[in-house]
């Protein structure tokens, strides 16, 4: 314990010393704040190339435009940049913030109709916070989290109750830096977030108690949750990408969300990974998304009135999981080469009709491209592993597949697609993927010749 305190003390000194030296060398930070204070409302300040120091506070409508490479470092314990005004424009600035475990983000926006454009935030905590801020635009904001993963076991837990209370204070005593969120909205409405990129943070874009926000063409990777909606209404997620996060998009206690045309790829390394997770969500729309290579593509729990339409779920370990939900509509989705296409339980009132399942042995007698045999979803695995999670080890074990079939044969699952689509040429074209097989061919030839020679010699030899 004493050693740890000693370490942290020496670390603090090591951090403060160079910062103090540069503060002496450069008076420019002070002058930037002074310049801002002097400027009249509505004025444009061009910041020449160079290094500046925070904290900077903007309290009136201004336009701050970087001329060249403007870098704002932050030796203080406050946020590097606070916008506590309306109609502020901030362009082209790079913020480098090395504070750890701070409640305050590197940039805090508390006003309305502000524009942050081409801003790069290099942070050990949260990148940008919007607090009670409405109708702002964040365009091309890049947030790069600098906290390294401690080990693979961190973030493994997925406890709903734990992140419900996430916005409350975190313990500050630990020296270990905790990741913050990329862009964090709380009580903020009607903001537009477009073309932003977030890497290696806690939650990429986090929205809580906010409504009417639009997220378009953003990109979040290598974080915990890509897009995390907590108690929001009327949020639009359009054409965003989530890649290699624990979960691509996490929608909780949310209603009237529109999730359209997004891509959620490769959320599969963590045992709690999903492409999209919906928990306690009402009356929302999930359409035309590409959900590929995730542990579970689309997971729905305790949700009602969701329309899931025209999504492509491919190459996930489990395409969709559906549990304790009611009155959702699933149609026109394509399930391609998932290890298991769908698992469902306790969701008998869901309308799952007219989807394409590539592992269905369909039969189309009347030629209407709809199979006359239904596609049934098996509740057995979900039920069993719900009771005893340890049995997940039997996932796709040959004996388990056998057992599952024993339990469903003839019984007829209540959760089924009564009119699954037959493969059409369009579907097959998307399905076909040719690999050039020279390597395999040569290996095959070697194996074939080798075994033949071996057999010949083995039999012949006396």
């Amino acid at each position: 314990m004493a050693l740890r305190q000693l370490l942290s003390a020496s670390l603090a000194i090591a951090l403060v010393m160079p910062a103090a030296l540069t503060a002496l060398a450069e008076e420019s930070a002070d002058s930037l704040q002074a310049q801002i204070d002097r400027a009249a409302s509505g004025e444009t300040i061009t910041i020449p190339e160079g290094k500046y120091e925070g904290p900077i506070r903007i309290t009136k409508p201004l336009k701050l435009v970087a001329d060249g490479d403007v870098k704002l470092t932050n030796p203080s314990e406050e946020a590097a940049l606070i916008i506590a005004a309306d109609d502020v424009t901030l362009q082209g600035i790079t913020v480098v913030d090395r504070r750890i475990n701070s409640e305050d983000a590197s940039i805090i926006v508390k006003g309305n109709r502000n524009l942050l454009e081409k801003v790069t935030v290099d942070t050990m905590g949260t990148g940008v916070q919007l607090r009670g801020a409405n109708s702002n635009t964040l365009h091309k904001v890049f947030v790069i989290g600098k906290v390294k993963d401690r080990g693979s076991t961190s973030d493994a837990g997925h406890d709903h109750s734990a992140h419900l209370s996430k916005s409350q204070s975190k313990p500050k005593v630990t020296v270990q830096a905790q990741k913050g969120n990329g862009i964090d909205l709380y009580d903020s409405n009607d903001n537009r977030l477009t073309d932003n990129q977030v890497t290696n943070v806690f939650d990429g874009i986090y929205l809580e108690k906010s409504s009417g926000n639009q997220l378009e063409q953003n990109w979040v990777e290598k974080s915990r949750y890509g897009y995390h909606l907590m108690g929001t209404t009327n949020t639009t997620l359009k054409n965003n990408t989530g890649s290699e996060n624990v979960t691509g998009a996490m929608l909780m206690e949310t209603s009237e969300a529109t999730v359209i045309g997004n891509q959620f790829l490769k959320q599969q390394k963590n045992p709690n990974s999903q492409g999209i997770l919906l928990y306690d969500v009402q009356n929302s729309l999930i359409t035309d998304n590409r959900i590929e290579g995730n542990r579970v593509g689309l997971y729905l729990e305790r949700s009602t009135g969701i329309t899931v339409k025209g999504n492509q779920l491919a190459l996930n370990f489990v395409g969709m999981q559906l549990t304790s939900s009611s009155q959702n509509t699933w149609t026109n989705n394509q399930f391609i080469s998932n290890v298991i296409a769908a698992q469902a339980q306790d969701s008998a009132t869901d309308n799952i009709n007219g989807n394409y399942w590539d592992n269905l042995l369909g039969l189309d007698v009347d030629g209407d491209h709809i199979s006359d045999l239904p596609y049934e979803m098996n509740p057995f695995y979900l039920g069993l592993t719900d009771a005893v999670p340890a049995y997940q080890l039997f996932f796709q074990s040959p004996g388990f597949v056998f057992l599952e079939n024993l339990f469903t044969n003839g019984a007829g699952s209540p959760i089924r697609d009564n009119s699954p689509l037959m493969p059409t040429s369009a579907v097959l074209a998307a399905d076909a993927q040719t690999t050039s097989g020279w390597g395999a061919g040569i290996l095959g030839l070697i194996l074939l010749l080798g075994s033949c020679t071996f057999i010949y010699v083995g039999v012949k030899k006396s």
Binding site: A156, P271, A390, T435, G437, K461
Partner: protein
């Protein structure tokens, strides 16, 4: 020296056995079947296709291995050649290890022939396996063969004739491959909840089909599907040490079964 001689003899006898060729035909057909499955779908990582392939191989290969090799041992008893061999100064263990090596070579040749045919056929038809997939399937199959060959030696040592060996082989196959989850789920329902996971982990080490499957799925990148319960396990398997331990586990299995087989053989 004796091991070498026995192995050579085993290879020779093995390839004169019509059973070997019928299994070779079956496996080639099966391997071509896999080619047809895969040409319709995606092959990288753990997908529907690779999952199905693993399961099909798990159904066929252990049974094939156990029948072919245990028959070869009981044949020695039935045809009296063991009585002849036992007049020479040769230990039981070198006899059984020789049989093991010989049978392993025969079975690997059969499997190689099957995959070889589908590799070449894939090239000719223009819809081929990926190189890595073919190699992966080959290694997976060889692992299964080597592990179940140990069990086959044990069956051969315990049984008096082919009929007994057939019954026992099929029973073990049914127990390990088909009935395994069913039996475990029903048996574990009698133990306290907190014991289930540790017990399940321990017994998995006693089923080669299961631990090879878990290892393969993890190496295909699908380890996360086993859930948070096995996170540390899977992470560990995926590390470099995981490979070493997997090989060690396989060697342990093979030597344990061979050791017990030797004891059983000597007791007869």
């Amino acid at each position: 020296m004796h091991i070498n001689l026995i192995a050579k003899r085993e290879v020779k006898v093995g390839f004169r056995n019509p059973w070997a060729y019928s299994f070779m035909a079956l496996f080639s057909l099966f391997s071509l079947g896999l080619l047809v499955i895969q040409s319709q779908s995606y092959m990288k990582g753990y997908t529907y296709t690779t999952g199905t392939m693993l399961n099909l191989i798990l159904y066929l290969l252990p049974l094939m291995t156990m029948l072919l090799s245990s028959f070869s041992l009981t044949a020695e008893k039935e045809e009296g050649s063991w009585q002849l061999l036992s007049t020479y100064a040769m230990t039981t263990s070198s006899f059984l290890i020789g049989k093991y090596v010989g049978q392993a070579l025969v079975l690997i040749a059969i499997v190689s022939f099957g995959y070889g045919i589908s590799g070449v056929a894939g090239l000719l038809l223009g819809k081929s396996f990926a190189f890595s997939t073919l190699l992966f399937l080959l290694v997976f199959s060889i692992c299964l063969i080597l592990l179940f060959l140990g069990i086959a030696m044990l069956i051969g040592a315990l049984c008096r004739n082919r009929w007994q060996a057939l019954t026992m082989g099929v029973s073990i196959w049914f127990f390990y491959i088909l009935a395994w989850p069913t039996l475990l789920i029903s048996l574990l329902s009698f133990v306290p909840y907190t014991w289930i996971k540790p017990l399940l982990q321990i017994v998995t080490f006693f089923n080669p089909a299961e631990f090879v499957r878990v290892y393969s799925v993890t190496r295909l990148g699908g380890g996360a599907i086993f859930g948070p319960e096995y996170y540390k396990w899977i992470y560990w398997i995926d590390s470099a040490l995981g490979d070493v331990c997997f090989v060690a586990l396989c060697l342990l299995w093979i030597s344990a079964t061979l050791f017990i087989a030797t004891r059983a053989w000597e007791r007869r």
